[in-house]
Symmetry: C2
Subunit: 654 residues, 2 copies
């Protein structure tokens, strides 16, 4: 029974828990014991007798290595069994005979699993530090045509540099093994990780890397459990954090039975007092032999408890489930006209307009002292859309007791229709003048005290707010106020194997040189973000340019270990007016706001960063006569290509 269902969670948020079993010729009995008696959702079981060795067989003999496929129905194989490949397989052994046997067996077992319609197989962990031949063989299978998932089993181990000295040969970081394996297999989308959770865990920074990887299953060994006061298994705080982290990081909207799993492994390591209630409950069942309680049931119960204890997702998060890690092209509101539905969505973001109202109120109070409260302030909403900022301005005026004359400037003729009807409906005709015009070209009849706009994209300037407000600045008084008064973009290096693979799946250069709006989820943020470009409004300097160039250096914390950078998350923070901010930069994000997801700048070739070697990144904002675009590159530890030269792949139209 899925973990979530027990707690009355929605099905889409439930999790599945399996159990690792020994080889058993009698698969129906194995399933019955673990699923019916044990309440596990599936078993991870060897499909072939582990004593089988191809080289010991006589030629052309029948292979007596596995039970018949008939013992279960195809749907049982497919929904209740994850294949576990023989753990003796060692494709990088120095022993050539063992290597050859391993290759033959690997291919036979995969072929057999395919024949059974098993959805996924767990590959045994690489035996040593080298895994090239193993990867070559797995890659050949992956490049073939079948759809089975392959999960490479990786023990979650990293020795500290401090323990060993950086050059010690006994230094182990299993992430590096995984990284090497998946690079050899070209980030294949059917290859993911079954992570073995052991009793001791490496540092939090180093654990964090796995949240950017495609971890399909976390296998918790019974040895990793502690014992609580009543003799029951429980996990250390750090283990709890890791497991709930995986619960959260798994892509809940995508949950299929064979995805994002917890697996309990090992022999019972706790002797648990048989609860009397349990005895009583079973007493009515007198006909059968005393029903056996599954020896690993307490571990399952504990994992279920961890899951149920988690706070359910807030409504907005649940609404956004479908957007997690889904790559969207950024809006081009200047070049295209937004649709009603888009306005609708953004207008619902009340937190944003509360911030705007606060900023406008402060500006009005600064602009008009109490003793001159009857003076009229000319306020222009540029890019008024269907009117939410007009409303916020009027509410600010009411709140502060100031008088306004409002011009609502909007270039989208469809939005202007709605705007007219809103003004009529609300009876704002005396205060609000609607101007159906692009603010860059409007010939204003008077100058404004305050210009209010909401032209920011996820990366701040990426929807061309600077260019638009340069136009609007023409009709702002010399001492006038722009709300926002400034905004800054930020970037942050990410491990984001899933996003990288989604970009790669398009098989062209253009998608690798495009920035995407995305609800970041299955990612690891490797360092704090850093500011990139800042724009301030108004700006009357003579040599003003909206071109920008920034060089950034990121240092990944040394206890993280090596890490893979698949690209950069982009955010913005805007100063609306004085201390009233609005933004999505994680460390200072405006709470409960949903108008912006982050932006993602991919790298054509992911960059592996080793500890102590900084990541140097360059970002440019380039301006042409008809478009604005970004270029970006990595310059250290090695130089990448410059992405999106001349805006060849991705640009924003003026």
């Amino acid at each position: 029974m899925p973990l979530g269902e027990k707690a009355g969670f929605e099905k889409s948020q439930s999790r599945y828990c399996g159990v690792e079993a020994e080889f058993n010729d009698d698969m129906p009995q194995l399933l019955n014991f673990n699923l019916s008696t044990g309440s596990f959702d599936f078993v991870v079981a060897p499909l072939m007798n582990p004593s089988y060795r191809p080289s010991l067989l006589e030629k052309d003999g029948v292979l007596p290595f596995a039970a018949s496929d008939l013992v279960l129905s195809p749907s049982q194989w497919s929904s209740h069994v994850v294949g576990k490949l023989s753990s003796w397989i060692d494709l990088d052994s120095e022993d050539e005979a063992l290597r050859m046997d391993s290759e033959t067996t690997l291919k036979q077992e995969i072929a057999w699993a395919n024949h059974l319609s098993v959805q996924a197989c767990i590959l045994p962990p690489p035996k040593g530090a080298s895994c090239a031949n193993y990867a070559r063989c797995v890659n050949q299978i992956l490049q073939g045509s079948n759809n089975m998932q392959l999960w490479l089993r990786i023990p979650l181990v990293k020795t500290d540099d401090d323990d060993m000295g950086a050059n010690s040969t006994s230094f182990i970081d299993s992430w590096e093994l995984w990284n090497s394996f998946r690079l050899l297999c070209e980030h294949h989308s059917q290859l993911s990780i079954a992570l073995d959770i052991l009793s001791s865990l490496p540092s939090l920074n180093s654990l964090g890397r796995w949240f950017g990887e495609t971890v399909a299953a976390a296998i918790i060994n019974t040895d990793s459990f502690l014992t609580n006061g009543r003799g029951y298994p429980c996990l250390s705080k750090r283990h709890q954090k890791l497991i709930t982290g995986f619960f959260k990081s798994f892509n809940t909207d995508m949950v299929k039975l064979m995805d994002d799993l917890i697996v309990i492994s090992g022999k019972p390591a706790h002797s648990i007092p048989r609860p009397s209630s349990d005895l009583a409950a079973n007493n009515f069942d007198n006909n059968s032999e005393s029903p056996q309680r599954h020896p690993l049931r307490p571990y399952l119960d504990y994992v279920g408890f961890l899951f149920q204890r988690m706070d359910p997702l807030p409504e907005q998060e649940r609404f956004e489930l479908g957007y997690r890690d889904f790559l969207q092209s950024p809006l081009q509101p200047l070049m295209d006209n937004l649709e009603a539905q888009t306005y609708e969505t953004f207008e619902r973001d009340s937190m944003k307009y509360i911030q705007y109202q606060r900023a406008i109120s402060k500006a009005l109070l600064d602009r008009v002292p109490d003793d001159k409260a009857s003076a009229t302030t000319v306020l222009m909403v540029v890019g008024a859309g269907r009117g939410p900022l007009v409303r916020a301005s009027l509410q600010a005026a009411e709140e502060t007791g100031r008088k306004l004359k409002i011009y609502a400037v909007e270039k989208n003729p469809n939005a202007v229709v709605t705007l007219h009807s809103l003004v009529k409906l609300e009876g704002w005709e005396d205060i609000v003048t609607i101007i159906s015009c692009d603010m860059r070209f409007w010939d204003a009849p008077e100058k404004a005290d305050i210009v209010v706009s909401e032209l920011l994209g996820s990366f701040g300037d990426n929807e061309l707010s600077p260019e638009c407000l340069d136009g609007a600045q023409r009709f702002l008084k010399q001492d006038g106020i722009s709300i926002p008064s400034s905004y800054t973009s930020f970037i942050q290096p990410l491990t984001a194997a899933k996003l990288y693979n989604d970009v790669k799946s398009h098989k062209d250069l253009a998608h690798f040189e495009t920035a995407y709006v995305v609800k970041l989820h299955n990612i690891a943020r490797l360092t704090p973000s850093q500011p990139v470009f800042t724009f301030t409004h108004p700006d009357y300097s003579t040599k003003k340019s909206n071109q920008r160039y920034k060089k950034l250096q990121f240092e990944i914390p040394s206890d993280t270990g090596s890490a893979m950078v698949h690209g950069f998350a982009g955010y913005f923070d805007a100063e609306l007016y004085k201390d009233v901010h609005l933004g999505i930069e994680p460390s200072m994000a405006t709470p409960n706001m949903f108008s912006w997801f982050a932006i993602f700048f991919p790298l054509r070739t992911p960059v592996c960063i080793k500890p102590g070697s900084p990541l140097e990144v360059h970002f440019w904002r380039c301006c042409g006569s008809s478009k604005v675009w970004y270029e970006w590159c990595v310059a250290s530890p090695n130089s990448s290509a410059i992405h999106n030269s001349n805006g060849r792949s991705y640009w924003v139209g003026l």
Copy 2:
């Protein structure tokens, strides 16, 4: 006058020498002085006044930065002038105003050079260790549509690790700057190097790297010249070696006026006694003012002397000029039938057949002692083609006084026709039996004492000699001899920017996963080669397999500095019989043999190797039911993708 023409070299082998000039508004006078008086072939000259700064100009003013385009004809601009961009340009300055001026000027000067039809421009050296913004700007130009060559000027400088300690910030290796720049520009084919040769040179290993790069021009400063006993300029031995190295490495077959140049730069640094003969020769020219000898003429003369002193190319090398760095698909003689012209070429390689004859003679003497010389040895030539090995065998028999019975087995029916006519013509009917059959399927009437074959490709086993000889082994006596008795392939990491670019130009994955036969020329061999796969014949072991796997570690000499690996050269060495070898591995290549060029295995992403970090490479020979293929990858310092998985891009048909 080109350097070669003076010595009566063929035009295709001549070299051009230019001179670097200061800015001069009077371009015709500048050309006249340097070309007519000085005998230089072209000038490297600034096209704009170096005092020009865009930010100092009034807006919309006419740009008084250069002379009119009319002063020279387009063909003069194009054949006699290399543009030199303003050396003050610094796109990575911390000073934003200078950076903006630099960007504007760079683009204006390139646009002006384009307008003039200049074929190439020299970009000033990057000013500091960082060059990302410079590269971004140049890359934008390169990604545009013009055809002009851009040569990045790079001073040839590398401080020793020993001098500085590896972590010293004052460590400089200008190759790293170049490498970073070209990576940022994606190895663009119009971007190459103008290498500034200074008075002191780094180590030979480090110099060697440049021979694998696209060096368009070597600029020798007059300061770099020593003074000989008679007061004339000359170069140190090491400089001489470098310059003649460039003379050789330049792609002579491709020489165009604006390619592969020497440029003399700087002020005269030697006071040379005016030779009296010179005076006498000029005396008849009484009408004009006393003609001026060009002050840099002695430097040109010395470079010409260096060039003329070089040995002319041997005939075979001249024949192969057109093949230098030209990528060819390897032959598939098993799947396809060779054409007459191919046989013709290979049969002309007398050195190869001399070696075969020596090997066969030795084998005959070992097989048949002198006291049994009348015994007949059964010799089978498998893959007899048009008969050269039949002839070599008969000559060996004659030389050793042994008797032969020869079967000539050939699968190509076209070659069999020629073989029949040869046997008739030579009167060999009694000795030679022609078998028109694939050796793998021939049902031989008797067993052979000796099987002779020439089935080797550039990489040894790559034309499926192992599979063919497995077939032939069926009809070899248990104690019989195979000639060759074994062969081994070798690989060697290369810097090969030109080959990489040629592979890249196809813009697909398949070409990056294909091995090419190529006359290696513009390459740097970074380490000695290492053996990969060995096959021995006959091999009667029961678990015999022609699959192979080899892991190799290459250490680049520490004084090389960092280096780029674009791929691997492949070679073979064969033991024909006992000490009689045949092969192309550079350190032990059979001299004067031309049947095989090397093979080149490219890397999809070039790998940069830093000093002290070994290059780990894996090579596989994989066998399927209808094809044989190689897979390869780099596993360290970072893992590459596995190339050619399942032989998807490149394979040899069985």
